[in-house]
Structures are given as C-alpha cells and as structure tokens.
C-alpha cells in the first residue's frame, strides 16, 4: 500500500474513531463540508480560533472560581460562551460538560464547579491533541501529493 493510501486510511479511521468516541458530532462534518479548493484550510482556521478562545475562557473560569466571593453568574457567562463555541465546531463531549457545568453554576455549588472545571480542562486537552493529530495527517496527505 503506498504512503498516500495509508495516510488517507489513517485519516478516515481517526475521524471515525473521534465520532465513535463522541469527541466530535455531526457539526464537525458540516464544517468539513464547507472546506473546498477555495477554502482549503477552513476547518483548521476555525479550530485554531476555537483553541485560542477556549484557553482564554478556561483561564477566565479558573480565575473567577478563585475569587474570595465567587460570582457564579460570571462563571456561567464564560461556560455559556464555551458551550456555544464547542457546539459550533461539533465538540460534543466538551459541550456536554459545559451543560453540566452550568447546572452547578445555577446551584452555586463551588465544589462541583471546581470539579467540573477540572474535567473540562482535561476533556479539552484530550480534544486538542486529537484534532492536532488529525490536522497533522492532513498536512502529510497534502505533502504526499507532490
């Protein structure tokens, strides 16, 4: 099997794996459909912005939860934004954790919020690794066309 075919198979298998494990849902496929010769890096660009936004929001949540008097509405606002952006790129597991997190914000439970934030940070870093691997494969496929 030549390199190209092998890489393409790896890409397909990895995408299927991410869907199966629930990292990504249909929305990610919608984004992939929007990518074409006119916009060959569309998905990577959107995801790159998502990474920047996410890291900012996670920091904001952490800082908000460290305050002497926690403003749960402020924490919730950050989680709400994170939920929106993760839904927009199809990051299902992250999005679902955000939904859970918002419930804890509403209940104003600091302990649960802190625990949820840790889970969210972990889940986000897993997703980031998985997507970066996927994009690396794509780069290799494009390089193999030469």
């Amino acid at each position: 099997m030549d390199v190209m075919t092998q890489l393409q198979r790896q890409w397909r298998e990895h995408t299927a794996y991410l869907r199966k494990e629930g990292y990504l849902d249909d929305q990610f496929e919608q984004l992939q459909k929007l990518q074409d010769e006119n916009s060959p890096d569309f998905v990577a660009e959107v995801v790159s912005i998502f990474f920047d936004d996410s890291e900012k929001l996670l920091n904001n949540m952490a800082r908000a939860l460290e305050q002497k008097v926690v403003d749960f509405k402020q924490v919730d606002a950050h989680v709400h934004q994170f939920k929106g952006s993760s839904a927009s790129i199809g990051a299902m597991r992250v999005k679902n954790l955000c939904i859970e997190f918002r419930n804890h914000c509403e209940a104003q439970s600091l302990e649960e919020c802190v625990r949820c934030l840790r889970k969210l940070q972990y889940e986000y870093s897993l997703l980031k690794n998985q997507l970066e691997y996927l994009f690396k494969l794509e780069q290799q496929i494009r390089a193999a066309v030469v």
């Binding site: 929305q27 919608q30 074409d36 916009s39 912005i49 936004d53 929106g84 952006s85 839904a87 927009s88």
Partner: protein, 125 residues
C-alpha cells in the same frame, strides 16, 4: 461590472468569531454575498449608512445591543428584510419572535437550516 439584481445579499450579526466564520462561509458557499457585523448596534449603523439586505441572520445574545432590541429597532425603522433569529437560548425564543423575526433556527447553523430559511426569502421591491 453590473451585479445581476437577482443576487441575494445577507447580513450576519454575531459577536462570536467562530460563528461569524461559519455563517460567512455557509453563505459564501451558496453564492450569497454577505457582510458580517459584531452586534445589534453595528447592524443598525450599517442600515443607517444606506445598505439593505435580503436576509439578516441575527444572533440573540450580543454586547452593546442584543438581537431582540436590534430586531425591534430595524422593524421600527421600516426594514422589511427577512430576519432569521439564530440562537441557543430557547427561553427567550418567544420574545425574540415577537420582536419581529420571520424565522428562528437553533445554533449551530447548517447548510440545510440555511436553505430552509432561504426558501422563505421574498425578493420583491
């Protein structure tokens, strides 16, 4: 070069960069010329500058001026473009519709949701 008058134009009103990119690309893909603004006030301003659009995709929660207020203001200004609310906030959906929406779709937008909105766009003067 003269633009054929039957081309549909759209305005994306959303404060989130990711949604802006996705909605802009969705519209581009369907051959719809579109502009992006970041909040309700910018949407009002762009209309005050004399621009008009066949379709407005209006996010609900935005800083400076939210989608509900912007929709009300645009209708009060006599703007009769198709305004489709795009949001995740189901609690405010009724208020949003009452403000003057023609349609409402849950985020995230997809090509098929956009196509269903477009079927309702009237292209009259």
């Amino acid at each position: 070069m003269l633009e054929p008058p039957t081309k549909i134009t759209a305005l994306v009103v959303d404060d989130d960069t990711i949604n802006q990119m996705i909605h802009h690309r969705l519209l581009d893909n369907l051959g719809i010329r579109n502009q992006v603004v970041r909040n309700g006030k910018e949407a009002i301003d762009v209309h005050c500058s004399g621009k008009n659009f066949d379709l407005i995709l209006m996010d609900m929660e935005m800083p400076v001026m939210n989608g509900i207020e912007a929709t009300r203001k645009l209708r009060a200004m006599g703007i009769r473009s198709m305004i489709a609310g795009v949001s995740t906030n189901t609690r405010e959906r009724e208020n949003f519709m009452k403000a003057g929406l023609d349609d409402y779709q849950e985020k995230p937008l997809t090509t098929s949701k956009l196509v269903s909105i477009l079927h309702k766009v009237h292209k009259d003067g």
